[in-house]
Amino acid sequence: MQKQEPLLSVRELSVAFKMRGGVLTAVDGVSFDLDRSQRLGLVGESGAGKSVTGFAILNLVSRPGYIAGGHVFFEGRDLATFSEEEMRNIRGNRISMIFQDPMMTLNPVLTIGQQMVETLKAHRHISKHEAEKIALNKLQKVAIPSPEKRLTQYPHEFSGGMRQRIVIAIALLTSPSLIIADEPTTALDVTIQADIMELLLNLCEEEKMALLLITHDLAVVSQVAERIAVMYAGRIAELGSTEAIVNAPQHPYTQGLLKALPQKVERRKRLNQIPGSMPSLQERPPGCAFYDRCELRGEICHRESPRLVEKNAGLVACHMVKDTTGKEEK
C-alpha cells in the first residue's frame, strides 16, 4: 500500500539548552508524524518538553537553546534547509501558532482589524479592503458577535475567552494547513474552555486543517485529538490512537495518569497516586527516566533507555510492555 506522505514529519528531533551546570536536553529524539487534517495531542508533565517541541518545529528556539539534532519535514521538505525568508513564509502562513496567553499574539496598541489586516498583507498581495473582508469572515467563523464593530476595538476591550477566539481567527486568516496550539485554554474557565475547544475542533474539520494540540490535560485532549503522544522527560513515552490511550494505555506512566483520575476510585477514598516526581532533565538517569516511579520496572530499565517501538495497538517506550500481537522485532 502506498502511504501518502505526512503533512508534518518530525524525526529524532532534539533540542538542548546550554546551562550553567552543562547541557540540558529538553527534547531528546522525538519522532512523530501528522497527516493532513489530522489532530494529534501532545500531553505530559510540566517541563516534559511539549512547548519546546512546538517551538522547534517552527525553528523558533531561542538562546540559550538550540536544535541539537533531527529533522522536521513539512509537506515533504526539510525545514532545516529553509532560509529565514522561506521560514517566515511558513510561520503564520502555512503553520499558525496559538499560545496560552492571547496577549502573546495580540498587540495591545493596535485594533483587532489593524492586526488582522497587517497579518494578511504580510503574506498575501491583496488590498486592505479584501483583507478586511477576509478578517470579517474569520471573525464570524469564531463566533464573535457583531464582527464589524469588533474590528475597530482594542484587545483590552475583550474578555479572555473572546481574545482567544480572536487569536484563533488570526491563526485562520491565511488558511494554514497546520495549527500548533500550546495550552490554548489553560488560562480560561471550564465553560469557556469547552466552547473554545469545540470551536477549534469544528474549524479543523471544516477547513481541513491539521492540529497539534499541546496541553497537560488528558481529558481535554481525548475530546479533540485522534491520536495522542504522551511525553515524559523530553521523550515520547507512548503514542497511539486516542481510543487506545484512553482505554488500554500501555506505558506505566500513562497508566498511572489514568489510574490517578478521581473518577477511578470511590468518592472520598485515596487516589491512586504515582510516587515521586519527574527527574531534572539535567541529570537524566542512564536508563528509563520513569524508573524511580515505575511499578513495572525491571532490572534492564535501570541500565538501558527504552526506545519507542510498535507494540500492540501503538508505539510505546517501555521495556516491560509485552507485545501480544507477536510481531515485536528484536
Binding site: 474578555s159 469545540e198 488528558l218 481525548s222 481510543e243 483520575l261 468518592r267 472520598r268
Partner: protein
Amino acid sequence: MSDFIEIKNLVKRFDISGGLLEEIRFKGGIHRKKTVVHALNGVSFGIKKGETVSVVGESGCGKSTLARCVIRIYRPESGEVFYNGKRVDNLSSAAIKPWRAKMQMVFQDPYASLNPRMTVYQTLLEPIRFHFRDVSRSEADDRVAAVMKQVGVDPDWRKRYPHEFSGGQRQRISLARALAVKPEFIIADEPIAALDVSIQAQILNLFMDLQAEQGLTYLFISHDLSVVEHISNRVVVMYLGSLCEFAGTEQLYTAPKHPYTRALLSAIPQFGSEGFNHMRLPGDVPTPINLPSGCVFHGRCPHADERCRREIPAPITEADGRVVACHGVEEGRLEWL
C-alpha cells in the same frame, strides 16, 4: 449538628478608583465617582466539623476573596464569620491570636507561598515559636521534624531553601507550615492548580490522609470539578460574587438545579467522549464593577425572565438541605428539564 464554621452574608468590595483626580467626574456638575469591584455580595453557608466544603466557580467570581475574608486577611464590608459559635471577624488583631493557630491557609502558587530567603526549618519554626511560647527549642525542633514527616518531606532537608524543592514538595512544605500550629480548620485556595497532573493526586491524598488522622475541617477552593467531586462533602457554586447553589456533592453532581451549576457541570472535560455536548451559554461573564441588576446570571441564563432581570433571587433552603438562589427553581419552572 450545628455548624463549625459559619459564614453569614459576607460582603466585600474593593475600591480601585486610584487617586482623587481620577475619581472626579464632570457629568452634570463636579462629583467624585468611585470605581468599586463587588467581589462578594452577601455569601452565606456553613461548614460542619470534619467535613470538606469546596467552592467552585469561574475565575474572578470571588473564591479567593471569600477565603481571605474568612481567614481575616481581608476585612469584609459587612457580614459575620463564626468559629465554633464565636464571632471572629470583628476581633482585634491581638484578640484574634488564639484563633490564628486554629485556622490556617494553604495557597495556590507553590513558588510564591514560601519566603525565598528562609530555610524550610526557619519557615516551620516561626509559627511554632510564635504560638507556643513555652515550647523549648528542642521540643520545637522535634515538632518541625514531625510535621515534615507528616507531609512526606525528609526532615534532613530542613536546612534547604525553597528553590531547591520541586513544586509538589513546596506545596507539602506550605501544608507543613499550616499544620505546625495544630490547626482544626484549613482553607486551601487552589492548592493543586499549579501542580503537575501526576503530583496532584499525591497532594490530594495528603489532604485526605491528614483529615482522616486529625479530623481537620477543610474549605477547599478549586476549579477542577472532578477533583471537587471526589474530595468534598458539600459544594458551594459561586457566580460573580454570589452563591448560586450549595448542596451535598452527590446531590449537586447528579441533579444540579441552578442553571449555572448545570452549565458548569456539563462543561467538565469528559474522558474519551468524542466531541462536546456541554451547555453553551450566550454572552460573557460581566465584570464585577457594574453588577447586573437582579440575578447576576440573568445575562447568560437561558431561563431568565422579567423577574430575574429585576429582583435578586434569595437563597432558598430546600427540604433536603440544598440551597439554591434562583427564581426559576423557586417558581418550579425549571423542573421539567
